[in-house]
Amino acid sequence: MSARLPYLGLLLVLVLAPWIIPIIGDSFWLSVLTEIIIWSCFAASINFLFGYVGLLSFGQALFFGFGMYGVALGISAFQLSFWPAFFLGPFSATVMALITGIFAVRLTWHYFAIITVVFSLIFYFLALTLKSVTGGDDGINFSMPDLFNLLGFKLSLTNSTTQYLFTLSVVVLCFWLIKVVMASAYGRSLIAIRDNDIRASLIGINVYRLRLSAFVIAGFLAGVSGSLFALFGRYASASYMFYHVSGEGVVWAIVGGVGTLLGPAIGTGIFILIREIVSTHWQHHALIVGAFAICIVIFAPEGIVGLWKKLRHRSRS
């Protein structure tokens, strides 16, 4: 029970945030927090591959983009209502992850990293070119359908509190799923592959199939975050499929701590806060981000969560 207490405390604070934030500051921070939560799910997708199976993907933005366009095109082109559109986003990202994964997970290490970049670049340029469908760099806008509309009782994500709580529920559900899955035989098999893929195959694990399944799950997570982000900004744009976006996610995950559940969320939170606070005063905020990332990688290679665990361990013994 005591192990769960910090999680429950964090969850409580997050749930109450829409009412706490207006008391202590500008309600603009609620939308920053929404964004942090969305991108945390993206960083979790990168962590799922790198932290748990040992595959470093620089192409997760591809699936983020598919999630975004799934929702945006679902609403604007196919006239779908909220839930079918929100299903279409992660679904198309998952299918895309399956198709690209069949080729990508045949490779490991830098070869894997390169092929994921290549895949995401192909579709980035494709999305730029197919302007009639994707809107290219400008993207496409859509108007938000209701979350539900029952006997006149309407709930819509146009309300920032509803938006926030909806986003939070979806992402918490994703993190909870990751936690459950990683405590199972399936999750342990992934860790086994990360540790030693030869020994994993020698004990009878089908390494290729498990890597592929992890790639698909990671694609799903990136797709969920892309879908949420589309709903957040009410638009989708090809620029979010650029590998720059993937790279940022990799930095967030590594700084927070790969192979840990909350590391990616912490890394994401810190970097987005730095960006929001510093960028209003100084346009070269990326310099601070870079310097910070370099320091973490050198002095705390296991990330902030790894450092925290080490310090706590030391103070106990």
């Binding site: 459950v180 199972s184 098999s189 860790i191 030869i198 020994r199 195959s201 004990i203 009878g204």
Partner: protein, 260 residues
């Protein structure tokens, strides 16, 4: 000795290798090798460096595919199966450079090994809810005297204890055959003795094949020895027979050209 010879005709080999060949570039690592191994004894494969011993293990366990020839285990052809499928048939292997899951504890290493053999990939059932696996893991931990290290990450173990853990991972699934690739390589005399006695005790339960460089160990443990040289079988027989074989002596101990 005569008795063993006579029983050959009655017994079926558990492992049958037929005209197996594998080249790397121009080098014939395994060259038209035919070999049958029979149950109820510890089989050892010896030979000078580069004789093709480890290549043979790699071929049997599916790490590499032969250029030609076939491998049968209990009359099932293994030749074109992937590593994990061969493992699931009950063929386990230890590696020359000891290899386990370093970030996992001793307990978890054994747990995942048994779970994988059962094809268990349930993503929702927590790992502490498998009483059957848990019992068997505790049994093996006791059998190998690894209790002190149960919750130690495998990466923090001494070399000898990693080797013991690797043996534990080989036996926990009650396999049909275990291939030991230089099981005592790099070990202290005390560790060697421990490992030798564990392997000898296993012979009653499973087929055992050993590659080993340490001749004292081989002649002490093995009931049947096959000698490889340049990828082919030079001789086979009991330790006494091999010991007195002139050809073996030349290739192995005698001439200066071959590095033993």
């Amino acid at each position: 000795m005569e008795k063993i010879k006579a029983s050959f005709a009655l017994m079926k080999p558990f492992l049958r290798i037929e005209h197996l060949s594998k080249s790397f570039g121009g080098v014939k690592a395994v060259n038209d090798l035919s070999l049958s191994l029979f149950p109820n004894r510890i089989n050892a494969i010896i030979g000078p460096n580069g004789a093709g011993k480890t290549t043979l293990f790699n071929l049997i366990t599916g790490f590499i595919k032969p250029d030609s020839g076939k491998i049968f285990f209990d009359d099932v052809e293994l030749t074109h199966l992937p590593i994990h499928a061969i493992s699931l048939m009950g063929i386990k292997r230890t590696l020359q450079i000891k290899s386990v899951f370093n970030s996992m504890t001793v307990y978890e290493n054994l747990w995942i090994t048994l779970s994988a053999q059962q094809g268990n990939l349930n993503p929702f059932r927590p790992i502490d809810r498998y009483p059957d696996i848990q019992n068997r893991v505790e049994e093996v931990i006791e059998q190998l005297d690894l209790g002190r290290f149960q919750n130690t990450p495998a990466g923090a173990l001494s070399y000898g204890d990693v080797a013991l853990l690797e043996i534990g991972m080989a036996i926990i699934t009650k396999p049909k055959m275990i291939l030991f690739d230089e099981p005592v390589c790099g070990m202290s005399p005390a560790e060697t003795e421990k490992v030798v006695s564990k392997i000898t005790a296993l012979a009653a339960q499973t087929h055992i094949v050993i590659i080993e460089h340490d001749m004292d160990v081989v002649f002490k443990m093995a009931d049947e020895i096959a000698v490889l040289a340049f990828g082919s079988k030079l001789a086979s027989g009991t330790p006494q027979e091999i010991n007195s074989n002139q050809q073996v002596k030349e290739v192995y101990f005698g001439t200066d050209e071959v590095d033993a």
